[in-house]
């Protein structure tokens, strides 16, 4: 470790200290050592340093707390080795914008919590403080199971839950975008930390997330289950919706994070980024005129409709595999970000079930927090019905959507493509806003659909008829012309009917109109109300 003579002349008495600094830095970069790194790679996973490099603009990582670790010393108190702390963090640039980033180093003691007076990362860690105080986004690269019972022996007592609490993690959600990637097996604190995010992603096949893993399940319930079955993306993303999106690889997860952040402002005091748009605003697609099938019981491809109206290749869908009766996607109109909430008639005819309801609430709050105007593309027959739906508290979850919609403050446009019924239909409007409702001529709406509604409302008249079936038909036929959207437009019960082909120019204009209004209302959302 001796420097050259030239170094000695230049740095004099600092020479030894600089050498020790260089040594300690190299120890940090070696992480848990060659064998541990090889094991991480063999499991199909990257090291935390490779992850940061894969996420960030080239060469932009500025590390915080690089020297933290456990040193070993010789008899003269000279450092011989440093095992780094199992957490690596700092700041990086992503598309030129500064972002705080950090993650557990699984190659060091499986990424377990490092007991230091101040935490490097995770809930309440320094990396989180950087995001909070500098008002920059935070990316958590989660690969660890949190605390270990072994620390009890070291401390000689047990700690009360929350000594490192989630207060900072929670308050950060109202200030800057927070993203979590689950890149290994996450349980306990890191799993909880990951939930407190605006967007989360996990890798299908190599990452799992749960409140507690298979050994605890075995001990608590006597059930044998492996970790992929218990907390793989099939459960955590598709079924539960605990994590927003699944990725095919870690690289795909990083690409999704970059894509998500490209729609977000650095913090709530800024506007989301507008990008140049090469797609003409007046692109009017003929396919839109025929996309809704003539037979009203046939579904259609709402994702195709979105592609036909939003800027080319501008969408980023959130939770595509959960709560599938609605589609929630970030998109751009003439380069300006917007959040699209669209019914998906392929699943339950677009009816809102408990999963879709929760998904819609999360997405509305995301857009509301970061000043992204909302566009509803509506084909909703109502709340989901049936025993399963009642057991899943669909009415409660559905009314929570209505409750959330009544509290958002971003400009909102409602465009009814086909059906708009009942309280689920109500949840596609923002009554605090201008509440400008547009519709295609294919639209129909009401408190409830005529089919089925007639049987209930005219029960006696139908029952007493000679031919009850014919009577029900007759009443339906009598009411149907009155349900024409032209009648509503005539009565100003809906503000405008548009030619489906005009949809893109109309939406581009409304999203543009929202911009100065959003600019005048920057800052944190102040609303907090009792949630039923």
């Amino acid at each position: 470790m001796s420097g050259t003579d030239a170094d000695n002349r230049r740095f004099g008495h600092m020479q030894a200290a600089l050498e020790e600094l260089a040594f300690r830095r190299s120890e940090a970069l070696a992480m848990g050592g060659k064998e541990a790194v090889a094991r991480q790679h063999a499991a199909g996973r990257l090291t935390v340093r490779e992850r940061i490099a894969g996420l960030a603009d080239a060469g932009s990582f500025r590390e915080i707390g690089q020297l933290t670790g456990t040193g070993s010393y010789d008899a003269h108190e000279n450092v011989r080795k440093v095992v780094p702390a199992p957490y690596v963090g700092g700041t990086v640039a992503i598309d030129g914008r500064t972002v705080a980033v950090g993650g557990e180093d699984f190659t060091v003691r499986g990424g377990t919590t490092f007991s230091a007076p101040r935490r490097k990362g995770g809930q309440g860690g320094l990396v989180e403080d950087f995001a909070y105080h500098y008002r920059i986004p935070l990316v958590n690269l989660v690969d660890g199971a949190g605390g270990t019972v072994a620390t009890i022996e070291k401390r000689r007592h047990t700690v009360f839950p929350g000594i490192h609490g989630f207060e900072r993690s929670v308050s950060l959600l109202g200030r800057s975008p927070v993203v979590s990637a689950i890149l290994g097996t996450a349980a306990g604190g890191p799993a909880g930390r990951a939930i407190l995010s605006h967007f989360s992603v996990m890798v299908r096949g190599t990452s799992q997330l749960f409140a507690a893993g298979p050994p605890v399940v075995k001990r608590s319930l006597g059930h044998d289950i492996d970790k992929e079955e218990l907390g793989g993306a099939g459960v955590a993303v598709d079924k539960a919706g605990t994590i927003h999106n699944a990725a095919d690889s870690e690289e795909d997860a990083f690409a999704q994070i970059r894509r998500f952040l490209s729609f977000m402002p650095q913090n709530v005091w800024e506007m989301p980024p507008v990008v140049p748009c090469g797609d003409p605003v007046d692109r009017c697609e003929d396919a839109l005129a025929t996309i809704v099938p003539e037979r009203r019981t046939l579904p259609f491809d709402m994702r195709r409709l979105i592609r036909l109206v939003a800027d080319l290749d501008s969408t980023f869908e959130i939770q595509p595999t959960h709560g599938k009766s609605i589609i929630t996607t970030l998109a751009r109109f003439d380069g300006r970000p917007a959040g699209i909430i669209a019914s998906n008639p392929m699943i339950y005819g677009g009816a809102l079930d408990n999963r879709a309801a929760r998904k819609q609430i999360r997405f509305m709050q995301l857009c509301d927090t970061f000043h992204i105007p909302l566009v509803f593309l509506v084909d909703v027959p109502g709340f989901m019905v049936g025993l399963r739906a009642e057991e899943n508290a669909t009415l409660l979850e559905g009314m929570r959507v209505v409750h959330a919609a009544a509290q958002i403050s971003v400009p909102t446009t409602t465009l009814v493509i086909r059906k708009c019924y009942g309280m689920a239909g109500m949840a596609t409007c923002n009554k605090n806003d201008v509440d400008y409702k547009l519709a295609w001529p294919s639209a129909e709406w009401g408190s409830l659909p005529i089919e089925g509604g007639v049987a209930a409302a005219y029960r006696r008249e139908i029952r007493e008829a000679d031919d009850p079936v014919a009577k029900e038909r007759e009443i339906e036929e009598r009411l149907r012309p009155l349900a024409s959207p032209f009648r509503s437009a005539e009565a100003f019960a809906v503000e405008d009917l548009i030619d489906p082909r005009e949809t893109r120019p109309v939406l581009c204009r409304l999203v543009e109109l929202a911009e100065p209004r959003l600019r005048s209302e920057l800052g944190p959302r102040s609303t907090f109300n009792f949630m039923p």
Partner: protein
Amino acid sequence: MTKKKVISPVTGSVWKIECAVGQTVAEGDVLMVLESMKMEIPVEAPAAGVVESLAVAEGDPVDEDAVVGMIAS
């Protein structure tokens, strides 16, 4: 030879079966149409192959995620 489950995407009832056991199908072919929330929801073949079995008949109620048939390919 691999077997693939045909999964019902929704809760509802079987309206029309549009394939027969032993029939060769392409990926994406409509095997049956369910009725759910007053809509006609197609159930497509998850892979090309032969319809090995059908677990439901017209008029049967089905649950979301239920296995309604098997494709051998």
